[in-house]
Symmetry: C2
DNA sequence: AGATTATTCGGACCGTGGTCCGGTTAGTTT
DNA sequence: AAACTAACCGGACCACGGTCCGAATAATCT
Protein backbone atom coordinates (compact mmCIF):
# COMPACT_ATOMS: atom_id res chain seq x y z
CA UNK A 1 0.00 0.00 0.00
CA UNK A 2 1.04 3.59 -0.65
CA UNK A 3 3.95 2.32 -2.72
CA UNK A 4 6.69 4.80 -2.07
CA UNK A 5 9.47 3.34 -0.03
CA UNK A 6 11.73 1.27 -2.16
CA UNK A 7 15.35 2.19 -1.68
CA UNK A 8 17.91 -0.55 -1.55
CA UNK A 9 21.39 -0.15 -0.16
CA UNK A 10 22.29 0.92 3.34
CA UNK A 11 23.17 -2.67 4.08
CA UNK A 12 25.03 -3.84 7.15
CA UNK A 13 28.32 -4.71 5.58
CA UNK A 14 31.20 -3.32 7.64
CA UNK A 15 31.54 -3.27 11.40
CA UNK A 16 29.24 -0.29 11.77
CA UNK A 17 26.25 0.49 9.55
CA UNK A 18 26.49 4.26 9.89
CA UNK A 19 23.54 4.61 7.52
CA UNK A 20 25.17 6.86 5.00
CA UNK A 21 22.85 8.66 2.69
CA UNK A 22 25.48 8.26 0.01
CA UNK A 23 25.25 5.27 -2.29
CA UNK A 24 28.13 2.79 -2.15
CA UNK A 25 26.17 -0.24 -3.26
CA UNK A 26 27.26 -3.34 -1.37
CA UNK A 27 27.08 -6.19 -3.84
CA UNK A 28 23.56 -7.41 -4.48
CA UNK A 29 21.67 -8.40 -1.35
CA UNK A 30 19.83 -11.64 -1.47
CA UNK A 31 16.36 -11.60 -2.90
CA UNK A 32 14.55 -12.41 0.35
CA UNK A 33 16.66 -9.91 2.22
CA UNK A 34 15.62 -7.13 -0.12
CA UNK A 35 12.03 -8.23 0.04
CA UNK A 36 12.04 -8.22 3.81
CA UNK A 37 13.73 -4.88 3.92
CA UNK A 38 10.96 -3.42 1.83
CA UNK A 39 8.27 -5.12 3.89
CA UNK A 40 9.82 -3.76 7.06
CA UNK A 41 10.10 -0.20 5.82
CA UNK A 42 6.55 -0.33 4.62
CA UNK A 43 5.29 -1.71 7.92
CA UNK A 44 7.32 0.76 9.95
CA UNK A 45 6.07 3.62 7.87
CA UNK A 46 2.50 2.54 8.42
CA UNK A 47 2.98 2.11 12.15
CA UNK A 48 4.59 5.52 12.43
CA UNK A 49 1.62 7.04 10.67
CA UNK A 50 -0.74 5.24 13.02
CA UNK A 51 0.92 5.52 16.42
CA UNK A 52 3.51 8.23 16.02
CA UNK A 53 7.22 7.72 15.56
CA UNK A 54 8.03 7.79 19.25
CA UNK A 55 5.75 4.86 19.98
CA UNK A 56 7.30 2.62 17.38
CA UNK A 57 8.51 -0.65 18.89
CA UNK A 58 10.72 -3.11 17.13
CA UNK A 59 8.48 -6.01 18.14
CA UNK A 60 5.52 -4.34 16.53
CA UNK A 61 7.40 -3.70 13.32
CA UNK A 62 8.55 -7.30 13.14
CA UNK A 63 5.03 -8.56 13.78
CA UNK A 64 3.45 -6.19 11.30
CA UNK A 65 5.91 -7.21 8.63
CA UNK A 66 5.40 -10.88 9.54
CA UNK A 67 9.08 -11.32 10.07
CA UNK A 68 11.28 -12.43 12.94
CA UNK A 69 12.62 -9.86 15.30
CA UNK A 70 16.20 -10.75 14.53
CA UNK A 71 15.61 -9.79 10.92
CA UNK A 72 14.66 -6.28 11.85
CA UNK A 73 17.86 -5.81 13.75
CA UNK A 74 20.05 -7.40 11.10
CA UNK A 75 18.57 -5.15 8.44
CA UNK A 76 18.77 -1.89 10.34
CA UNK A 77 21.21 -2.42 13.16
CA UNK A 78 19.01 -0.94 15.83
CA UNK A 79 15.92 1.10 16.40
CA UNK A 80 17.70 4.28 15.53
CA UNK A 81 18.93 2.80 12.29
CA UNK A 82 15.39 1.99 11.29
CA UNK A 83 14.19 5.48 12.04
CA UNK A 84 17.09 6.97 10.13
CA UNK A 85 16.30 4.77 7.15
CA UNK A 86 12.74 6.02 7.29
CA UNK A 87 14.01 9.56 7.49
CA UNK A 88 16.44 9.23 4.61
CA UNK A 89 13.49 9.04 2.35
CA UNK A 90 12.23 12.43 3.50
CA UNK A 91 15.66 13.97 3.73
CA UNK A 92 16.23 13.42 0.05
CA UNK A 93 13.74 16.09 -0.87
CA UNK A 94 15.75 18.62 1.06
CA UNK A 95 19.05 17.37 -0.31
CA UNK A 96 17.93 17.64 -3.88
CA UNK A 97 16.68 21.11 -3.18
CA UNK A 98 20.03 22.51 -2.12
CA UNK A 99 22.23 20.29 -4.28
CA UNK A 100 20.50 20.62 -7.60
CA UNK A 101 17.26 22.54 -7.12
CA UNK A 102 16.45 26.00 -8.39
CA UNK A 103 18.13 29.16 -7.03
CA UNK A 104 18.50 30.83 -4.64
CA UNK A 105 18.83 27.57 -2.69
CA UNK A 106 20.32 25.46 -5.45
CA UNK A 107 23.28 26.23 -7.70
CA UNK A 108 23.03 29.29 -9.92
CA UNK A 109 22.73 31.94 -7.26
CA UNK A 110 25.76 33.57 -5.61
CA UNK A 111 27.06 31.60 -2.65
CA UNK A 112 26.04 34.22 -0.12
CA UNK A 113 22.44 34.08 -1.22
CA UNK A 114 22.46 30.32 -1.18
CA UNK A 115 23.76 30.45 2.35
CA UNK A 116 21.06 32.87 3.38
CA UNK A 117 18.44 30.59 1.88
CA UNK A 118 19.84 27.44 3.41
CA UNK A 119 18.75 28.06 6.99
CA UNK A 120 15.11 28.77 6.31
CA UNK A 121 14.94 25.80 3.95
CA UNK A 122 16.20 23.41 6.59
CA UNK A 123 14.04 24.98 9.26
CA UNK A 124 10.90 24.56 7.23
CA UNK A 125 11.78 21.05 6.25
CA UNK A 126 12.40 19.93 9.81
CA UNK A 127 9.43 21.61 11.38
CA UNK A 128 7.13 19.86 8.97
CA UNK A 129 8.33 16.44 10.20
CA UNK A 130 9.10 17.07 13.83
CA UNK A 131 7.94 13.75 15.20
CA UNK A 132 10.09 11.68 12.90
CA UNK A 133 13.16 13.86 13.21
CA UNK A 134 12.91 13.92 16.97
CA UNK A 135 12.34 10.19 17.30
CA UNK A 136 15.26 9.48 14.98
CA UNK A 137 17.60 11.39 17.27
CA UNK A 138 20.29 8.87 18.04
CA UNK A 139 22.41 8.18 21.08
CA UNK A 140 24.86 10.90 21.81
CA UNK A 141 27.87 9.35 20.12
CA UNK A 142 26.16 8.77 16.81
CA UNK A 143 24.40 12.08 16.55
CA UNK A 144 27.06 13.75 14.48
CA UNK A 145 28.01 10.86 12.25
CA UNK A 146 24.68 10.56 10.52
CA UNK A 147 24.92 10.98 6.78
CA UNK A 148 22.38 13.72 6.53
CA UNK A 149 24.32 15.93 8.86
CA UNK A 150 27.58 15.29 7.09
CA UNK A 151 26.10 16.34 3.81
CA UNK A 152 24.68 19.54 5.25
CA UNK A 153 28.00 20.30 6.85
CA UNK A 154 29.95 19.73 3.70
CA UNK A 155 27.57 21.96 1.83
CA UNK A 156 27.97 24.78 4.30
CA UNK A 157 31.74 24.50 4.22
CA UNK A 158 31.67 24.69 0.47
CA UNK A 159 29.52 27.80 0.48
CA UNK A 160 31.59 29.53 3.12
CA UNK A 161 34.79 28.78 1.21
CA UNK A 162 33.30 30.07 -1.99
CA UNK A 163 32.26 33.25 -0.30
CA UNK A 164 35.67 33.58 1.22
CA UNK A 165 34.63 34.56 4.73
CA UNK A 166 37.37 35.51 7.10
CA UNK A 167 36.84 32.85 9.79
CA UNK A 168 37.51 29.31 10.80
CA UNK A 169 35.24 27.91 8.14
CA UNK A 170 34.87 24.37 9.46
CA UNK A 171 34.06 25.50 12.93
CA UNK A 172 31.66 28.15 11.71
CA UNK A 173 29.84 25.57 9.64
CA UNK A 174 29.46 23.28 12.64
CA UNK A 175 28.07 26.10 14.71
CA UNK A 176 25.69 27.25 12.02
CA UNK A 177 24.46 23.69 11.84
CA UNK A 178 23.98 23.61 15.58
CA UNK A 179 21.36 26.34 15.18
CA UNK A 180 19.37 24.06 12.95
CA UNK A 181 19.49 21.01 15.15
CA UNK A 182 16.00 19.61 15.36
CA UNK A 183 15.73 19.36 19.15
CA UNK A 184 16.82 22.96 19.53
CA UNK A 185 14.45 24.16 16.87
CA UNK A 186 11.66 22.19 18.46
CA UNK A 187 12.40 23.69 21.83
CA UNK A 188 12.50 27.21 20.48
CA UNK A 189 9.37 27.01 18.36
CA UNK A 190 7.21 24.86 20.61
CA UNK A 191 8.33 25.39 24.19
CA UNK A 192 9.54 28.95 23.84
CA UNK A 193 6.89 29.72 21.26
CA UNK A 194 9.17 31.56 18.89
CA UNK A 195 7.61 31.78 15.45
CA UNK A 196 9.54 30.25 12.62
CA UNK A 197 10.08 33.65 11.03
CA UNK A 198 11.96 34.73 14.08
CA UNK A 199 14.38 31.85 13.74
CA UNK A 200 14.80 32.68 10.09
CA UNK A 201 15.62 36.30 10.91
CA UNK A 202 18.12 35.01 13.45
CA UNK A 203 19.79 32.91 10.79
CA UNK A 204 19.97 35.84 8.44
CA UNK A 205 21.42 37.99 11.16
CA UNK A 206 24.18 35.57 11.99
CA UNK A 207 25.04 34.97 8.36
CA UNK A 208 25.16 38.69 7.70
CA UNK A 209 27.54 39.18 10.58
CA UNK A 210 29.65 36.36 9.25
CA UNK A 211 29.94 38.05 5.89
CA UNK A 212 31.07 41.31 7.44
CA UNK A 213 34.82 41.80 7.54
CA UNK A 214 35.86 41.63 11.13
CA UNK A 215 38.53 44.31 11.55
CA UNK B 1 34.27 7.41 52.28
CA UNK B 2 35.29 10.52 50.39
CA UNK B 3 32.55 12.42 52.20
CA UNK B 4 31.57 15.10 49.74
CA UNK B 5 28.08 14.67 48.47
CA UNK B 6 25.55 15.98 50.88
CA UNK B 7 22.98 18.20 49.24
CA UNK B 8 19.36 17.92 50.20
CA UNK B 9 16.53 19.21 48.08
CA UNK B 10 15.70 18.25 44.54
CA UNK B 11 12.88 16.13 45.88
CA UNK B 12 10.19 14.61 43.74
CA UNK B 13 7.30 16.78 44.80
CA UNK B 14 5.35 18.02 41.79
CA UNK B 15 4.34 16.07 38.73
CA UNK B 16 7.80 16.40 37.19
CA UNK B 17 11.06 16.52 39.11
CA UNK B 18 12.91 18.71 36.60
CA UNK B 19 15.89 18.70 38.94
CA UNK B 20 16.30 22.44 39.18
CA UNK B 21 19.62 23.62 40.40
CA UNK B 22 17.80 26.41 42.13
CA UNK B 23 16.77 25.86 45.71
CA UNK B 24 13.02 25.78 46.35
CA UNK B 25 13.20 23.56 49.43
CA UNK B 26 10.26 21.20 49.54
CA UNK B 27 9.25 21.02 53.17
CA UNK B 28 11.51 18.76 55.22
CA UNK B 29 11.89 15.26 53.83
CA UNK B 30 11.61 12.49 56.26
CA UNK B 31 14.73 11.44 58.05
CA UNK B 32 15.11 8.06 56.42
CA UNK B 33 14.42 9.54 53.02
CA UNK B 34 17.25 12.00 53.41
CA UNK B 35 19.52 9.29 54.70
CA UNK B 36 18.77 7.07 51.71
CA UNK B 37 19.24 9.89 49.30
CA UNK B 38 22.69 10.49 50.65
CA UNK B 39 23.53 6.80 50.63
CA UNK B 40 22.40 6.59 47.02
CA UNK B 41 24.38 9.57 45.84
CA UNK B 42 27.41 8.28 47.60
CA UNK B 43 27.05 4.82 46.09
CA UNK B 44 26.37 6.19 42.63
CA UNK B 45 29.35 8.46 42.83
CA UNK B 46 31.56 5.56 43.78
CA UNK B 47 30.22 3.35 41.01
CA UNK B 48 30.73 6.09 38.46
CA UNK B 49 34.31 6.42 39.57
CA UNK B 50 34.78 2.68 39.27
CA UNK B 51 32.91 1.74 36.11
CA UNK B 52 32.37 4.99 34.28
CA UNK B 53 29.18 6.98 34.14
CA UNK B 54 27.84 5.29 31.05
CA UNK B 55 27.95 1.87 32.69
CA UNK B 56 25.97 2.91 35.71
CA UNK B 57 22.91 0.73 36.19
CA UNK B 58 20.09 1.49 38.54
CA UNK B 59 20.11 -2.03 39.94
CA UNK B 60 23.75 -1.70 40.83
CA UNK B 61 23.18 1.60 42.58
CA UNK B 62 20.31 0.18 44.57
CA UNK B 63 22.33 -2.85 45.57
CA UNK B 64 25.40 -0.83 46.46
CA UNK B 65 23.35 1.48 48.64
CA UNK B 66 21.55 -1.50 50.18
CA UNK B 67 18.21 -0.10 49.23
CA UNK B 68 15.27 -1.27 47.14
CA UNK B 69 15.19 -0.39 43.49
CA UNK B 70 11.92 1.46 43.85
CA UNK B 71 13.60 3.81 46.27
CA UNK B 72 16.16 4.86 43.72
CA UNK B 73 13.45 5.77 41.27
CA UNK B 74 11.31 7.56 43.82
CA UNK B 75 14.25 9.68 44.88
CA UNK B 76 15.52 10.61 41.44
CA UNK B 77 12.71 9.94 39.03
CA UNK B 78 14.80 8.06 36.55
CA UNK B 79 18.33 7.26 35.56
CA UNK B 80 18.79 10.62 34.00
CA UNK B 81 17.60 12.33 37.17
CA UNK B 82 20.21 10.51 39.17
CA UNK B 83 22.97 11.50 36.78
CA UNK B 84 21.80 15.09 36.82
CA UNK B 85 21.81 15.10 40.59
CA UNK B 86 25.36 13.84 40.49
CA UNK B 87 26.24 16.51 37.99
CA UNK B 88 24.66 19.33 39.96
CA UNK B 89 27.39 18.91 42.43
CA UNK B 90 30.06 19.57 39.81
CA UNK B 91 28.08 22.24 38.05
CA UNK B 92 28.05 24.37 41.13
CA UNK B 93 31.72 25.16 40.80
CA UNK B 94 31.09 26.65 37.40
CA UNK B 95 28.00 28.50 38.54
CA UNK B 96 29.77 30.12 41.40
CA UNK B 97 32.56 31.13 39.09
CA UNK B 98 30.38 33.17 36.78
CA UNK B 99 27.80 34.31 39.32
CA UNK B 100 30.06 35.51 42.07
CA UNK B 101 33.64 34.62 41.24
CA UNK B 102 36.47 36.98 40.35
CA UNK B 103 36.54 39.01 37.12
CA UNK B 104 36.68 38.80 34.19
CA UNK B 105 34.23 35.89 34.50
CA UNK B 106 32.45 37.06 37.60
CA UNK B 107 30.88 40.44 38.33
CA UNK B 108 33.20 43.41 38.34
CA UNK B 109 34.37 43.30 34.76
CA UNK B 110 32.48 44.99 31.90
CA UNK B 111 29.76 42.79 30.48
CA UNK B 112 31.50 42.32 27.15
CA UNK B 113 34.57 40.89 28.82
CA UNK B 114 32.49 38.64 30.98
CA UNK B 115 30.79 37.36 27.87
CA UNK B 116 34.12 36.72 26.19
CA UNK B 117 35.31 34.81 29.22
CA UNK B 118 32.13 32.79 29.56
CA UNK B 119 32.64 30.48 26.61
CA UNK B 120 36.13 29.31 27.48
CA UNK B 121 35.12 28.81 31.10
CA UNK B 122 32.25 26.53 30.16
CA UNK B 123 34.33 24.73 27.58
CA UNK B 124 37.05 23.95 30.05
CA UNK B 125 34.60 22.89 32.70
CA UNK B 126 32.79 20.48 30.43
CA UNK B 127 35.81 18.95 28.82
CA UNK B 128 37.20 18.05 32.17
CA UNK B 129 34.10 15.96 32.96
CA UNK B 130 33.11 14.62 29.62
CA UNK B 131 31.97 11.19 30.72
CA UNK B 132 29.55 12.48 33.30
CA UNK B 133 28.17 15.28 31.16
CA UNK B 134 27.67 12.97 28.23
CA UNK B 135 26.04 10.24 30.28
CA UNK B 136 23.72 12.76 31.90
CA UNK B 137 22.42 13.84 28.52
CA UNK B 138 18.71 13.33 28.84
CA UNK B 139 15.99 12.33 26.43
CA UNK B 140 15.36 14.88 23.78
CA UNK B 141 12.39 16.59 25.41
CA UNK B 142 14.13 17.24 28.68
CA UNK B 143 17.43 18.40 27.31
CA UNK B 144 16.55 22.07 27.43
CA UNK B 145 14.66 22.15 30.68
CA UNK B 146 17.54 21.16 32.88
CA UNK B 147 18.33 23.74 35.52
CA UNK B 148 21.97 24.12 34.62
CA UNK B 149 21.13 25.17 31.11
CA UNK B 150 18.46 27.58 32.23
CA UNK B 151 20.90 29.32 34.48
CA UNK B 152 23.52 29.63 31.78
CA UNK B 153 20.92 30.95 29.42
CA UNK B 154 19.65 33.53 31.83
CA UNK B 155 23.18 34.66 32.48
CA UNK B 156 23.91 35.12 28.81
CA UNK B 157 20.70 37.05 28.27
CA UNK B 158 21.61 39.32 31.13
CA UNK B 159 25.06 40.02 29.74
CA UNK B 160 23.80 40.64 26.24
CA UNK B 161 21.16 43.05 27.55
CA UNK B 162 23.70 44.88 29.61
CA UNK B 163 25.97 45.21 26.61
CA UNK B 164 23.08 46.40 24.54
CA UNK B 165 23.75 44.35 21.44
CA UNK B 166 21.56 45.05 18.49
CA UNK B 167 20.02 41.61 18.01
CA UNK B 168 17.33 39.27 19.15
CA UNK B 169 18.94 38.73 22.52
CA UNK B 170 17.03 35.65 23.62
CA UNK B 171 17.62 33.85 20.40
CA UNK B 172 21.26 34.83 20.27
CA UNK B 173 21.75 33.50 23.77
CA UNK B 174 20.21 30.18 22.83
CA UNK B 175 22.47 29.89 19.84
CA UNK B 176 25.56 30.84 21.74
CA UNK B 177 24.66 28.15 24.21
CA UNK B 178 24.24 25.65 21.41
CA UNK B 179 27.92 26.10 20.65
CA UNK B 180 28.78 24.93 24.14
CA UNK B 181 26.56 21.89 24.18
CA UNK B 182 28.59 19.01 25.52
CA UNK B 183 27.91 16.50 22.76
CA UNK B 184 28.91 19.03 20.13
CA UNK B 185 32.04 20.01 22.00
CA UNK B 186 32.90 16.39 22.46
CA UNK B 187 32.46 15.71 18.79
CA UNK B 188 34.58 18.66 17.76
CA UNK B 189 37.42 18.07 20.17
CA UNK B 190 37.56 14.29 20.08
CA UNK B 191 36.20 13.13 16.75
CA UNK B 192 37.24 16.12 14.70
CA UNK B 193 40.34 16.66 16.81
CA UNK B 194 39.98 20.39 17.12
CA UNK B 195 42.05 21.66 20.03
CA UNK B 196 40.21 23.46 22.76
CA UNK B 197 41.95 26.72 21.90
CA UNK B 198 40.40 26.62 18.49
CA UNK B 199 36.92 26.41 19.96
CA UNK B 200 37.77 29.28 22.25
CA UNK B 201 38.92 31.41 19.35
CA UNK B 202 35.68 30.52 17.60
CA UNK B 203 33.70 31.72 20.58
CA UNK B 204 35.61 34.96 20.69
CA UNK B 205 35.08 35.47 17.02
CA UNK B 206 31.34 35.03 17.22
CA UNK B 207 31.05 37.26 20.26
CA UNK B 208 33.11 39.94 18.59
CA UNK B 209 30.87 39.85 15.54
CA UNK B 210 27.88 40.08 17.81
CA UNK B 211 29.24 43.22 19.42
CA UNK B 212 29.79 44.90 16.08
CA UNK B 213 27.00 47.19 14.98
CA UNK B 214 25.32 45.54 12.05
CA UNK B 215 24.73 48.28 9.48
C1' DA C 1 20.24 -31.33 -11.43
C1' DG C 2 22.69 -32.21 -7.18
C1' DA C 3 26.06 -30.87 -3.92
C1' DT C 4 28.23 -27.10 -1.49
C1' DT C 5 28.60 -22.87 0.87
C1' DA C 6 27.57 -18.39 2.43
C1' DT C 7 23.92 -15.83 4.09
C1' DT C 8 19.63 -15.15 6.15
C1' DC C 9 15.69 -16.35 9.17
C1' DG C 10 13.25 -16.36 13.45
C1' DG C 11 12.03 -16.65 18.00
C1' DA C 12 13.81 -17.95 22.59
C1' DC C 13 16.55 -15.47 25.71
C1' DC C 14 18.77 -11.69 28.50
C1' DG C 15 19.72 -7.11 30.74
C1' DT C 16 18.05 -2.86 32.05
C1' DG C 17 14.86 0.94 32.77
C1' DG C 18 10.67 1.77 34.94
C1' DT C 19 6.05 0.62 37.50
C1' DC C 20 3.13 -1.10 41.28
C1' DC C 21 1.22 -2.15 45.52
C1' DG C 22 1.07 -4.50 50.10
C1' DG C 23 3.58 -3.94 54.22
C1' DT C 24 6.22 -0.77 57.21
C1' DT C 25 7.73 3.34 59.43
C1' DA C 26 8.08 8.27 60.58
C1' DG C 27 5.50 12.34 62.13
C1' DT C 28 1.19 14.05 64.31
C1' DT C 29 -2.77 14.27 67.13
C1' DT C 30 -5.34 13.28 71.37
C1' DA D 1 2.01 6.91 75.28
C1' DA D 2 -1.21 5.07 72.04
C1' DA D 3 -3.68 5.60 67.97
C1' DC D 4 -3.69 7.43 63.46
C1' DT D 5 -2.37 8.93 58.92
C1' DA D 6 0.51 9.97 55.32
C1' DA D 7 4.60 8.99 53.37
C1' DC D 8 8.03 5.67 52.38
C1' DC D 9 10.13 1.07 51.39
C1' DG D 10 11.26 -2.83 48.58
C1' DG D 11 11.27 -6.37 45.45
C1' DA D 12 8.21 -8.82 42.21
C1' DC D 13 6.79 -7.64 37.79
C1' DC D 14 6.51 -5.75 32.97
C1' DA D 15 8.04 -3.82 28.35
C1' DC D 16 11.31 -3.03 25.20
C1' DG D 17 15.85 -3.03 22.98
C1' DG D 18 19.20 -6.06 21.61
C1' DT D 19 21.75 -10.83 21.13
C1' DC D 20 22.39 -15.61 19.64
C1' DC D 21 22.42 -19.80 17.26
C1' DG D 22 20.23 -23.90 15.10
C1' DA D 23 17.35 -24.39 11.05
C1' DA D 24 16.23 -22.96 6.48
C1' DT D 25 17.21 -20.96 2.04
C1' DA D 26 19.38 -18.62 -1.88
C1' DA D 27 23.29 -18.32 -4.79
C1' DT D 28 27.30 -20.85 -6.79
C1' DC D 29 30.01 -24.63 -8.42
C1' DT D 30 30.71 -29.27 -10.78
Amino acid sequence: MSGGISDTGGERGGPIPVALTSVEEARAPRADAARNRAKLLEAASRLVAECGASNLTMDAVAAAAQVGKGTVFRRFGDRNGLLVALLDHEEKYLQEAFLSGPPPLGPGAPAAERLLAFGPAVLRHETSRFDLYLAAEGPVERRFVVGARRLRLQHLVMLLREIGVDTDVELAAECLLARLDTPLVHHLTVRREMPLERLERGWHDQVRRLLLPTW
